[in-house]
Amino acid sequence: MRPALTTDLRQIVGKANVLDAAVDLQLYSYDAYLEERRPDAVVFAHSTDEVAGIVRACNTHGVPFVPRGGGTNLSGGTIPVKGGVVIEMIRMNRILEVDLPNLRARVQPGLFNLELGNALAPLGYQYLPDPASQKAATLGGNVAENSGGPHCFKYGVTTNHVLGLTVVLPDGEVARIGGKAPDTPGYDLTGAFVGSEGTLGICTEVVVRIVRLAEGVKTLLAIYDRIEAGSETVSAIVSAGMVPATLEMMDQPVIKAVEESIHCGLPVDCATVLIIEVDGLKDDLERQAQEIADLCRAHGAREVRVAKDDAERAALWAGRRGAFGAVARITPSYLVCDGTVPRTALPAVLKQVAEVGRKYDLQIPNVFHAGDGNLHPLILFDWRNEEQKARVMKAGMEILETCVAVGGTISGEHGVGIEKMGAMRLVFGEPEIEVQRKLKRAFDPKDLANPGKMFPAPQEVRHAA
């Protein structure tokens, strides 16, 4: 415990907003990853000024800090591995401004992604990056991880839609970077900050791009007996000049689990289903859907379902939406892997993932974003079984090695955090890691902002802890 620090923190936010009892520290020692480490204190922030004050106090006491939103981080980004102060941003959850004429909104980082969408939809607008975790993940977390989601192939990721930030720098200074206007002179610090996993400071306001809701959307589901066929269909769709908004796939083990849990009418003996959505102006959606259906069948789809209305659309999505839930019933825990590969390499990589599963005697069902090559092998296990957990970590690392070997990378949307620190050297040599350290030093020379993340230690062991 650090009484002097706690006193300072209480002065800034009030006694009730500083937690340091053992049970509270335990509750802020984890996120959605598999490790735990207690902080020294937890502080609830309500304004940029408070965050700046807290960060300054951390500087004074030489104590690290970790910003946190919903704690849904899958790679350990919100775990305070070096202790220090967890700065809980979840109460800063307001929409500050919706500026339709300028196609911008200003929001606080503790706002759930879905709530922004819900506020914009009645106005006819949307914020495009909508990761699957959107009802539990905050904008601040999206910024920290450069979150993706099912629409990245067509619409890009978080960094393509975040145009400005108010940041509390690691020394406590407050800076507004970027903004509503395009092409702010100077280095693109906003772009550097997005995806920086809380290691360069804390954003307290986010300026995002908002766009009109699409005029129309058409949804299809195709069922295949070979995974390659599904992937080949995606290539064919692209070759035909179409850019679908969504291309989601899941493999047989997931489908079986889904059918067993929610009975949404998918055959348990197929190899994969492909969900495709095209959106945009209404005029060509029917034709695109027809063309896509033809391509699916031409590539061996045993069945193609086309949604005629919203209800049918929801039915086609039900399986994919229920995928994680279905898988969660099989074993107590699952590790969500997050490699990305060139799209055409997906079938081969999935075969190798299955090999890894056999090698380590683990079940690994797969959900993947077929458009952008981001795959999510779900390694099933029981966290109480230490030996099995060790095999899971080894399997996860081997899957990442596979992704890198085919020209991909180790993280598509969940970030490096703690989980993939050891894997950084699969994609980066020492010079690449050193340039990233330069960026870190420019923002945070004292290494107070979320230390112990992302950068591999000099002699990092290959297998993550």
Partner: protein, 448 residues
Amino acid sequence: MLPEAGGLTRRLSEVVGDEHLLSGPAAGFAVDGAAPSLVVRPGTQEQVQAVATACAQVGAAIAPWGGGTAVGLGNPPTRLDVVLCLDRLTRIVEFDPANLVVSAEAGVRLADLQQVLAAEREFLPLDPARMDRRTLGGAIATNASGPSRLLYGTARDLVLGLRVVLPSGERVRCGGKVIKNVSGYDMNKVFIGSLGTLGIITEVTFKLLPAPASRATLAGVFADLPQAAAVLQRTLGSFLLPEAMELLDPQALAAVASDLGLEGSAGYGMAISLAGSQETVARQVRDFTSLLTEGTALRTSTLGAEASPAAWRKIRDLPDRAIGADRVVVKIGVPISRTAAFLAAAETLGRRHGWRGAIAAHAASGVVRAAYATGAGAPEVVRDAVEALRREAEAAEGSLVVEAAPPTLKRHLDAWGKTGEAFAVMRRLKAQFDPRGLMNPGRFLGGI
């Protein structure tokens, strides 16, 4: 005067060969009137690395050079010893049409790249002016963009990876070949728009799009700006998805009127590019025609897929080509809703000083570019005028950047304006990458 110049010349000659090493003053590679001592043209990325290393050893200040189309951007360099020209790095390293990815060396010209991509019916939606000369490395280092940024974004939305030679001579890769990539920091963003102050881009990996099946262009002429602005408003509130919407002042329009099928018409011009499937292009042609007509356009015209590319080649080169050499070019960035207002402000500026000017705006992106023939105007007058317009832009939460000016004027102008609230971080970033200040010193924001 570069110390050890002789030694450096010898060393560089060993790397690239005599035929690719030029004496500076004679070679025509001046930056804002300052000539380098040496111009070196490496042929491979490894040679770039060797050149950078050699320069670093003697503390020579380097200015990277691509196609020379944006050399006027930024402040005059405080030191310039070597121009490192990338124009011989013209390899297409890897083109993977199935995955919509291409990696190409920094010296490849944008137009040449587009041709390679077109053979597989794909394209890179990056369309700044002078695509025939502009190189990939230069485009990325200057964050160059064109009208179609409206639908496709800019470099930060299109670059998947970079290879960079650092001032120290190290070679590093940033990013990768896939769209979803959060492995470590997004170093691409650090280098995009960094004007060669942190390193030399030697290779760029882009994400691509399938070439649209159909294209068309709509154009209209308006008697006054508010009418055109109203059409813009209505477009923004609609479902329509134009690829580009350019707003041209009468001077700019005059330069392209015949290309747009509006010969003889004068006034404010609006040019709209549509790309996509047959159905959506046809629908948008219909809708925009209605919008233009209801918006009381004096005249409208439509160009099909064949005539559109040529028209847009001309439009992209506005406003610069409407004004002769020795022009002052500024780029204003403001929130979208202020675009028309700042086009008007830029017009007023020219009129007030009696300068012939031309203005083109990426109307729905908040970008206004104005070119002026300031003639024999006194530098202080030009400076004060630019600063006044800049103050207006900054008051609107925007910016004004000087993209070009004759050398005699340039040194009186602040190219970038307000340094912003995170300038200390930018300074530290520069110090981390280039502690000795060898890369384009003084040219960037705040004199970095």
